[in-house]
């Protein structure tokens, strides 16, 4: 609404300038992606001879199929596909579990307060400010004790624990905006703790569920540190595999394969933003603006 009226009384010259600046900014941000795509479609010879920005003379997906299926990551040469599926196997359950737990936490902390619940929430908030590095050692110890060191399940657990602080914050702040009378009405109508959650609260939570899913998906898919520390060999996520791929060379640096692998690694999060980005913005502002 306001964005439409903002330029209404503007001098045409200013508007041209505004759009010019926006265009330059957009190009500036798109440039790396363009270079990556461009390079991934070129042959090595062309990369060595040509300009970084010139379009490929003979576009080919050879680098992509090599990155996916036969590039060397360390000592094995099976491409990134196995690690891509590792990442999927880590990300999907970790995102779903942390979102679910966050929703329940947020529901309790906003609608079923108990003595000390504010303190509890405050302590959870500290979790959002802890740098990854701080928990590395204690977590490694814990995983070892639990017998989960170096496994996909262990990595899922780490991501769930680390993510709960964020997802709880999201849902708690969203549910604070839901009138308490709604819970009271449901109690009088005969719904208990879980029925209110599943039949009243959760169906209203689509915007914040999307925020939580996107946030967690981005965090967990893009995570490198936990992946490199807590997994080994065949259990590693794609971010670690990408690093290994770029760092293991057999004489020649294959920029086109590196670029293709990097795009493959970034594709899921990009897709999520394109498909659900509008929900993300809506969800983030849902608490701030009523209605």
């Amino acid at each position: 609404m306001s964005s439409r009226t903002a330029g209404a009384g503007m001098h045409p010259g200013w508007r041209v300038l505004t759009y010019a600046i926006l265009l330059v900014a957009a190009l500036y941000y798109l440039l790396p992606l363009f270079v990556m795509l461009n390079t991934s479609l070129k042959s090595l010879a062309e990369i060595r001879s040509g300009n970084l920005l010139s379009l490929p003379q003979d576009p080919s997906l050879a680098a992509w199929s090599k990155a996916w299926g036969s590039a060397c990551t360390g000592i094995s040469c099976d491409g990134v596909k196995g690690y891509f599926w590792n990442s999927v196997k880590i990300t999907v359950p970790a995102v779903l579990i942390s979102t679910m737990v966050g929703a329940i936490n947020g529901y309790v902390l906003s609608k079923w307060r108990f003595r000390g619940s504010n303190l509890f929430f405050g302590m959870l908030l500290v979790g959002t400010m802890l740098p990854f590095q701080v928990v590395l050692l204690p977590m490694a110890r814990t995983l070892g004790e639990l017998g989960l060191a170096g496994t996909v399940s262990g990595l899922i657990m780490v991501h769930v624990i680390y993510g709960i602080a964020f997802t709880t914050l999201f849902f708690r702040n969203f549910y604070i905006g839901v009138p308490d009378d709604l819970v009271r009405a449901a109690r009088i109508d005969g719904a208990g703790f879980w029925r209110i959650f599943f039949r009243i609260m959760l169906p209203m939570s689509l915007p914040i569920i999307m925020v939580s899913l996107i946030w967690q998906m981005t965090q967990i898919w893009n995570d490198f540190l936990f992946g490199v520390v807590y997994s080994s060999g065949d259990a590693q996520p794609i971010t670690v595999a990408l690093n290994n791929l770029v760092n293991s060379t057999t004489g020649v640096k294959e920029y086109n394969v590196d670029m293709a692998a990097a795009i493959i690694a970034a594709l899921p999060t990009l897709l999520v933003y394109v498909l659900a980005g509008s929900y993300f913005v809506r969800g983030m502002t849902a608490g701030a603006v009523k209605g």
Binding site: P179, D181, L182, R184, A185, A186, R187, I188, D189, G190, A191, R195, I200, P203, M204
Partner: protein, 343 residues
Amino acid sequence: MAFLSLNNVDKFYGDLHAIKSVNLAIEQGEFVVFVGPSGCGKSTLLRMIAGLETIDGGTLMLGGNDITHVIPSKRDLAMVFQSYALYPHMSVEDNMSFALRLAGEDKAVIAKKVAEAAEKLDLEPYLKRTPRALSGGQRQRVAIGRAIVRQPKVFLFDEPLSNLDAALRGQTRVEIARLHRELGATTVYVTHDQVEAMTLADRVVVLRAGHIEQVGTPLELYDAPVNKFVAQFIGMPQMNLIKTDGINGVPAGAVEAGVRTEHMQITDEGNARIKGTVELIESLGNETLIHVRPDGADSHEMPLIARQYSRSELNMGARVGLGWDDSQAHYFNTQGENLRITA
């Protein structure tokens, strides 16, 4: 034995004694209104009856059963909330039938009950809509419908009209009165609006700071308030309060006189009980409110107001006298008690 009775009911929030040993007996079919200033505990008391707040002392009886510690949904009562509290993702129909569906009621019975309630409230065209697509008045009717569908023993209303605009409020008030007549259901209604209290109630309960100041029919409260608080709370504009020192012919023990605006008479200065200057004249057409500043009063004190049902010839700044008929005045002692009632 009363239908719904509160016996020495207490509520504590930590050290705060929020509800102080309240006793109240409500008869079947009665419309009882709780009024009081914000924070007086009227909503808390209602929620304690509903079972949404625990009762920390005393007992609550409904129809001969002790329901002090029964969970809300088993108390056989329904509540209408100020914010409507409609489930935003459900259609009107689903909102109204939610309780019955949770109780596992037969589908045909649910459909019949919803249809009946919808007909009573003119909601038939809107059954498939979500609350978002309804106006404020329609939403409030759905909230009432949700309560009716359950055919409870007691209806509880928590300031149901305060989110509506003035015109709609009047209209919905009439509708609630009609519904109560038709259903004959026992109703407890919380409001801070004394017009709602006066027009809807069989009996009004005036609360202050967690205890009951007075219970009575609306006119009893208006004509015979037991103390200064009730006298000032009921009636708009507020009852005039006049310090009695220096005024002749007041009963012994009285420190303040309370005179309703319509009993305050404007006279010539002459030997009137109070002399003053007209400060403001509010001409409302059907009535005229004349604000008089008594001589010697501080400028931050409330002016005295006389209400008359004829147009006034007076101008601002005119000198006038004020007087009243002692049979229509209330006299309060130092504790604020009405001497006419307590004597």
